[in-house]
């Protein structure tokens, strides 16, 4: 499974985070923009959570945009995964790897 197009998930509501992934061919994972209402308290932790999810999903290169409004870790994971599969243009009702790369 590979990013083919820009994938976005999440909203700008409180407790949510909007994640955008854009495919690139080299340069690793680059945070193009990183905004958070709790950046001073949790900025590093949010970044680490995003990177860990991307690693599980096997994403080596991508431009990442994060716009956070105080999302919990479980929401960050959910939005990164959803953005990734949308960017892969896979069937939204296909069989997903629950408990495998999605965990």
């Amino acid at each position: 499974m590979e990013l083919k197009a820009v994938g976005t998930a999440g909203t700008l509501e409180s407790s949510d985070v909007m994640i955008t992934l854009e495919p690139t061919t080299s340069g690793g994972i680059v945070f193009d923009s990183f905004e958070s209402s709790v950046i001073n308290q949790y900025g590093r932790q949010i970044k680490a959570e995003v990177l860990a999810s991307l690693e599980r999903l096997g994403v080596k290169n991508a431009k990442v945009i994060v716009n956070d409004h105080g999302a919990l870790d479980c929401t960050i994971k959910a939005r990164v995964e959803c953005a990734f599969y949308r960017g892969c243009q896979c069937d939204m009702d296909g069989k997903f790897d629950w408990g495998g790369v999605i965990r």
Partner: protein, 305 residues
Amino acid sequence: MSIPRPKPEKFRLRRTMMFMNAQKPGLIKDAYIYGADSIMLDLEDAVAENQKDSARFSLYHALKTIDYGDTEVIVRINGLDTPHWKEDIRVCVAGGCDGIRIAKTESAKDVQIVDEAVTEAEKEFGVEVGRTLLMAALESPKGVLNAYEICKASPRLFGVALSGGDYRKCMQVKVIPGGIEMLFARGLMLNAARAAGIQCFDTVFTNINDDEGFRAEVKQNVEMGFDGKSLVNPRQINIVHEMLAPTQKEIAEAEKIVRAYRENADKGVGVFTIEGGKMIDIAFVPGAERVIRLAKASGIYEGDL
């Protein structure tokens, strides 16, 4: 670090079942604090067609991460006439929810199709087969007419619920104070549920500013014999719990019946009278025990039964 949930109990107390949009992190993260007996995380009508995927990811991680404590966690899946329900079932089982609410149930076959898909998912994800409970929502005249066969369709099925919005639309009626437009559906469904030995839940009351109307409907629900009600707003929870709570007089009488029954049963006596001259036999006992259970759940029982 996932939260292990105990095996769901088929016939637990379900006075209040509150709907929550599974797609909204702000809602599901502290859904348990409101004190509903069950929450119903919704993948169906509350989630827009182009967010069905997103809601599943959000649901999966919520189920795995958030400690819902004693609150039962049910998920409402999309209807069998959509392309979404199969994957909905996989994520529900993989995430370990307590039960699945089947939308738009019209026949026993619908329940059996879901039952089979759940069994398949339980095997796939290493979940004990039979762990995941089911409930069926009746939303059409056909579903209501087939209530009895639906109620008997699966050993996983703990109850049926009426979904008033769609049912009223099909019947070409609007919400009438007093509920005459729903009388047949409520009555038939209750009768079918009791005949099959499962629980029965009334539909939502959507005008959240009409407290008086809500209380009147809950009162009628209690009088008709419903086990509980689906809710759309946390404000409604305490009203239902309060109205379902037995009175001190009812509790006292239930205690007398249970105690007297136990004493007399030991002596081999089946029919007896309690203080005040009321004649009691075994038929009164389950009702009395139910009153004690409700009193305990309502936090107003101080006895030792």
